[in-house]
């Protein structure tokens, strides 16, 4: 089978600049770091959340609470995709989410189903004062009425394309790539 074509959308510097701006926007929307809790969605949202938290700390001198969320058990398509044997860790920040400003961080926003699942899961943990959605890439294609508050970059994609966010911890480098099936224009 021929290799699919990979196109670089954002290199390391571009991702870093986007994350730095997103961190500033988060702090601006929340009017500071107080009460802020940053939750990364497994898997690559987790590394992005760590980077955004570090950016916020660098700019504000205070670190927001950080946690991780695995939404697999809240998906609406278990019977369609089959079970994923290895689930990621769900770890709320110390002190939980009750009454806090929670920022959900994910790598790519597409259908919105992951975010829907994340909102359901958060509701089982408590009642945040407010929830923001922050994504590095918004590739369109929503199937639910969900929109992000803070976005790194908006791109147009076709359904047969994929957007991959690469992080050093899992992929060895920081980048965003668009993957097209071979033969497509």
């Amino acid at each position: 089978m021929p290799e699919p074509q990979r196109q670089l959308l954002m290199d390391e510097r571009a991702v870093e600049r986007a994350l730095a701006r997103m961190a500033r926007e988060i702090v601006e929307r929340n009017a500071g770091v107080a009460g802020l809790a940053v939750l990364g969605i497994q898997r690559r949202g987790v590394q992005l959340a760590d980077r955004i938290a570090a950016e916020i700390e660098r700019a504000e001198g205070a670190r927001p609470a950080v946690g991780t969320l695995d939404i697999t058990l809240y998906r609406d398509d278990l019977t369609a995709i089959g079970p994923r044997p290895v689930l990621g860790e769900t770890r709320l920040p110390p002190g939980g989410i009750e009454g806090r400003s929670v920022v959900i961080i994910d790598d790519v926003l597409y259908t919105g189903r992951t975010v829907r699942a994340a909102l359901d899961e958060l509701a089982d943990f408590g009642r945040p004062a407010r929830i923001f959605l922050c994504v590095l890439i918004d590739r369109g294609g929503r199937e639910l009425p969900i929109q992000p508050d803070v976005v790194g970059r908006v791109i147009d994609t076709a359904a047969d394309q994929r957007v991959e966010v690469l992080v050093p911890e899992l992929d060895g480098r920081l980048a965003v790539e668009l993957i097209r099936p071979t033969g497509a224009t």
């Binding site: 697999t72 058990l73 398509d77 089959g82 079970p83 044997p85 290895v86 597409y110």
Partner: protein, 321 residues
């Protein structure tokens, strides 16, 4: 990175038919499920709308409750049927019972049955998933899995551990599931007990045999102490309980003579003062309550893996959201 439900097959009958990779995947899947039981709201919606019947033809408190917690924490609807004391036997009646349940549109059956092979028998005859919660002397796979998870929690890995199963191996489905699972994952396994309570030819399963419990303790770094099944002891297998305790009981004196660290498991319910002394059961070596906690996570993992949908759809629906 989804795997199809055929990853485990339709049923969980025992650990003998599973591969090492399948067993490892169940243990790995159980890890994140532990955390759900620590939440304020101990519930996730993954099995919402599934109906599970707990069909117990034999008395069980711990296993049944553990399965029920697991099912409820995954949001399944559950029905408990205790057929204890009835004259139900394997064969037509068992299948009829299950077919009647199926006619009410169930999705899974968790079954305990006094006859070895009952779970396989049932699984071959109904389309629902069947999970063996203990069948006769054959297997009790979720107990074997939770024992392995507990060993892995405390020692980091299964491979290379020296595990001795002590006591009534002959009547024990727990022993069989332990032997299959542990040897597949690379542990060395031994058994120790009165000859009358060891199955003939047990060496052929790839296990060592110790006749004296002192030797077993010297060799092992994990002891899995089986319950002396008093209700099955009508046949004169041992002279007396006191005699058994004197020769094979896990006592503090014996445990203190262990050359290295020793982990002590017991599937419960314990006969204190028979196969295990209270000093040991409540002492620093025992991880018996960890086993109970892990039991819920293991059963959640098994239910989750078996409940996964049609494998032919697995590829199509992959991809990011």
């Amino acid at each position: 990175m989804s795997l199809p439900s055929t990853f485990l097959g339709k049923d969980l009958v025992g650990l003998e038919p599973l591969t090492a990779a399948q067993i490892r995947a169940i243990l790995d899947t159980a890890e994140p499920f532990k955390e759900i039981s620590e939440r304020a709201i101990k519930k996730v919606p993954v099995l919402r709308g599934k109906t599970i019947v707990n069909l117990f033809f034999e008395a069980s408190t711990r296993t049944r409750i553990s399965f029920e917690f697991a099912e409820k924490r995954l949001s399944a609807d559950t029905v408990n049927i205790a057929a204890q004391g009835s004259s139900v036997q394997k064969g037509e009646t068992l299948v009829d019972t299950a077919r009647n349940l199926e006619a009410m549109r169930i999705d899974m059956v968790v079954m305990r049955h006094p006859s070895s092979g009952a779970a396989k028998f049932l699984g071959e005859r109904i389309p629902s998933n069947v999970i063996n919660a203990g069948d006769g002397r054959h297997e009790h796979p979720t107990q074997g899995l939770l024992d392995m998870l507990t060993i892995r929690d405390h020692l980091g890995r299964i491979e290379g551990q020296r595990v001795c199963i002590v006591g009534d191996v002959l009547h024990s489905r727990v022993a069989r599931s332990n032997i299959w699972g542990l040897t597949k994952l690379g542990a060395e396994v031994a058994v120790c007990g009165p000859r009358s309570l060891l199955p003939r030819g047990v060496e052929e399963l790839g296990v060592q045999v110790f006749n004296r419990v002192e030797q077993a303790i010297e060799w092992a770094n994990v002891l899995n102490v089986l319950r002396l099944q008093l209700e099955r002891m009508q046949g004169g297998f041992i002279p007396s309980l006191r005699e058994y305790n004197r020769i094979f009981g896990i006592t503090r004196e014996r445990v203190e003579r262990a050359p290295g660290a020793l982990l002590i498991l017991h599937p419960g319910p314990m006969n204190r003062g028979v196969e295990i002394d209270s000093d040991v059961a409540d002492g620093p070596h025992a991880v018996i309550l960890d086993q109970v906690t892990n039991g819920v996570a293991i059963r959640m993992a098994v239910l989750y893996l078996l409940a996964g949908g049609a494998p032919e759809k697995a590829e199509a629906a992959k991809g990011e959201s």
